[in-house]
Symmetry: C2
Subunit: 519 residues, 2 copies
Amino acid sequence: MSKVKLVVNAAGRSVPTEVNGKPVIAYKGIGKHKPEGRKFGPRISSCADFPDDGNKLVPSLKEALIRSGLKDGMTISTHHHFRNGDLIAVQIFDIASELGVKNLVWFPSASFECHAPLIKYLEDGTIHHIEGSMNGQLGRFTSHGKMKGVGVLRSHGGRYQAVQDGEVAIDIAVIAAPTADFFGNANGVDGPAACGLLGFALADSQYADKVIVVTDNLVPFPCVPWQIQGNYVDHVVQVDQVGVPSKIVSGTTEITKSPDRLLLAEMTARFCEHAGIIKDGFSFQAGAGGTALSIGIYFAELLKAKGMKARFARGGSNKYLVNMLNEGLVDFILDGQTFDLDGVKSMRENPNHVSTSPFTSYNYHGKGNFASMLDVVILGATEVDVNFNANVVTHSDGLLLHGIGGWQNCLFAKCTILPVPLFRDRIPVIRDEVTTLCGPGELIDVIVTERGIAINPLRTDLIERMKNSGLPIKTIHELKAEAEKICGVPAKQKFENEIVAVVKWIDGTVLDTIYKVMP
Amino acid sequence: MSKVKLVVNAAGRSVPTEVNGKPVIAYKGIGKHKPEGRKFGPRISSCADFPDDGNKLVPSLKEALIRSGLKDGMTISTHHHFRNGDLIAVQIFDIASELGVKNLVWFPSASFECHAPLIKYLEDGTIHHIEGSMNGQLGRFTSHGKMKGVGVLRSHGGRYQAVQDGEVAIDIAVIAAPTADFFGNANGVDGPAACGLLGFALADSQYADKVIVVTDNLVPFPCVPWQIQGNYVDHVVQVDQVGVPSKIVSGTTEITKSPDRLLLAEMTARFCEHAGIIKDGFSFQAGAGGTALSIGIYFAELLKAKGMKARFARGGSNKYLVNMLNEGLVDFILDGQTFDLDGVKSMRENPNHVSTSPFTSYNYHGKGNFASMLDVVILGATEVDVNFNANVVTHSDGLLLHGIGGWQNCLFAKCTILPVPLFRDRIPVIRDEVTTLCGPGELIDVIVTERGIAINPLRTDLIERMKNSGLPIKTIHELKAEAEKICGVPAKQKFENEIVAVVKWIDGTVLDTIYKVMP
């Protein structure tokens, strides 16, 4: 890959001009890349080729994949609503391997540790490369330069955009569904593997050439609600189990007990209060991590104390957000993935707990999306730099260990706050330059650390409002210096001259390059 | 138009090879036309061109049309969920006329008497022609050869298919909505002009170049449920009134008091019972006419008596169907349009009263649809012929007076029954040949008249099952002879040699031609 031509993009990062043999566009700046052309047009189907009685059941996933024409070089997509409890993705490639199919592209909406068994298929050439998050073991494998192709990292919205725009043509989408009927209507709210919703599979259903629904809870037609519409589905497969319920629920949905994190949460909430963000009818999004959850609880307390309520909260939902909905502290949860069973139950029963998708929430190549309407979003980061650029996929040692999720998309909120510790394992989080650029600094407004809060100089309004707040407002350089005083100045990580992955921006352009780590 | 080349299609009807200057394909037989190519790809948008805060409000419909680039020759679409209470469609063309725009194509999902004021725009060249139902006064105008272009009649499913496949490229869709937010999320269940749902505008929202939502009930974001997704919407307009509630509810939603019609209803219900169609878990669809409503009531009584329930009923919903849902006689209503306020209320409040669209229910160029899954559908007709072909758009005098609605799509049910009187105004309904072919006879199973029931000879199974039923089973020729004994043999209608409209089949091919009536 080192022979590929590189160009310097608008963020000053060197990026390749082609990835896996296809030309790509370098990042041009926020809102600067104006897409031309038309959305991808999937092949037109005819009801004449489908059973009149609506019954699309086939005996096995293998049979469904064969009927879908599985062959070398195809792109196979899956969704990640089952999180670490997914039982289907690995089966697909077990079957492909058994059939001797090679050079597949795996296009998941995210990957988890349960997908580590796919490493053997990356090694033996069944899978050529992954376009999607390469977490944990898959990330290490990639970072060590062992994947045949180049990984492509996209945000949830960027994944929808790529499919919609035809950048990624999915040959076969396999949609594991907690409940489905024989026609292929499917949902995530019912059944033993209930995961809430199936929004991450929406683009796949709409645009893939062939769509297979796999379920362990087949109900008589109609499966209501139909979050996935059977009219997009080719085959339906019934299996014993699609997911492990105990692993579907994320492990990160308990509020933090760490005093450091609680401090970050409290400072973030106080910042929002002083900045005038928390007001009647406001909207917010906080992730699923312990810090973010704690911030939600502070918000709830503030709203209760002020006799106010939020208009909407964007999920990842969890029991704390559901409590706010039930207590009338927020009118609506607009939810992209449920993180616990309280979230699933609420989505099933409460019409104000609304199922969303990357199309409604995040797709940058739509006529607007929900992400930019939020008053405040609170996100994590592995690193930030003195220009407020942030990294969310690699660690400072260069290892690719996380996916992007909806992180890039959320940066468009009216106020983006990153509460981060000043250092982790004695490695400073604030750097001169991030190892990998995932979010341009001009979209990141506030860095909250346990030793002070830095406001992006572009946000003169926030700087003005925080005067006399009593909160420890500092410059980002001051914060960086404090960390370095304790931990020392970190050496810049060195890499091999071999591209292992690229980070796409939300408009499909290439924002940064990830290189092979030194042995 | 008389110079256009004609061909004889698979139904034996002469049809033009081009319509309004565009080539068209002649009907090839049921399931015989295999579409090639890909779905229409709308232009890719960018959030960079839309307001970050989600506010797409513009001051007036005129302003929205100007910003949408309204100009000569464009195709403008509207939906018909407000039925005869629509206040928006005429306003669009008032504005176009004021702006001096000419040769527009109006592409409604259906038209009503309230649209008769558009005749002046058809006369002065503001509107070139209509693609959609030409009912009542618009139909007479068309039948008299006064429309500049050729009308194109499509079923609800055919309209979705035509948009999806790019046969009709909508330049500007105007979606009148009972409730919407500033982002363009919209629904039909709330607000003073509540009409239930907005499914007929779905294709328009997904595929039109520009989409305008017009509402008289603007609510804070998010408008939930969002039957129309704001991510497809360019502009939102707030007006005083979008529809006249009293005229939104159809006038045809009372059960019939006519003894003749009640007899038809009773015979149809008895036929279904004897044929073994009414059983636990069955499904049915009956239209909104008085006869159809009465059949629904017979079904309800039969189910109650037998201790059974239906799995689903397809709407048009009305208070009778809602009662069945509430009494537990049917599990789900899969509803395409609500015909009364009971239907609207039920859709708003009951999660088992499900909003559907022409995509889910009727689109023949999908991977199956709901229509073919129904055990029985009961439909009307203006004429049938001895080959069980049926007409639903013209009268025997040749006048085009009705649209197709979902009629063609529904013919794919497992059993299609047309209860019709043997004659109307002393004109026999059963003919040697229908004036206009809308539904090929091989899809029509049973004709029920007050003097006997004819079963399509292709349905040997039904003929067998109805032996010893005690019902007056006759041949279609016997029924025709009975009518002619009373009314005489009708003369075949003569037409001018000028094409005024064509009838499309559900796959986009041309099924029949409608000619100008003699003066």
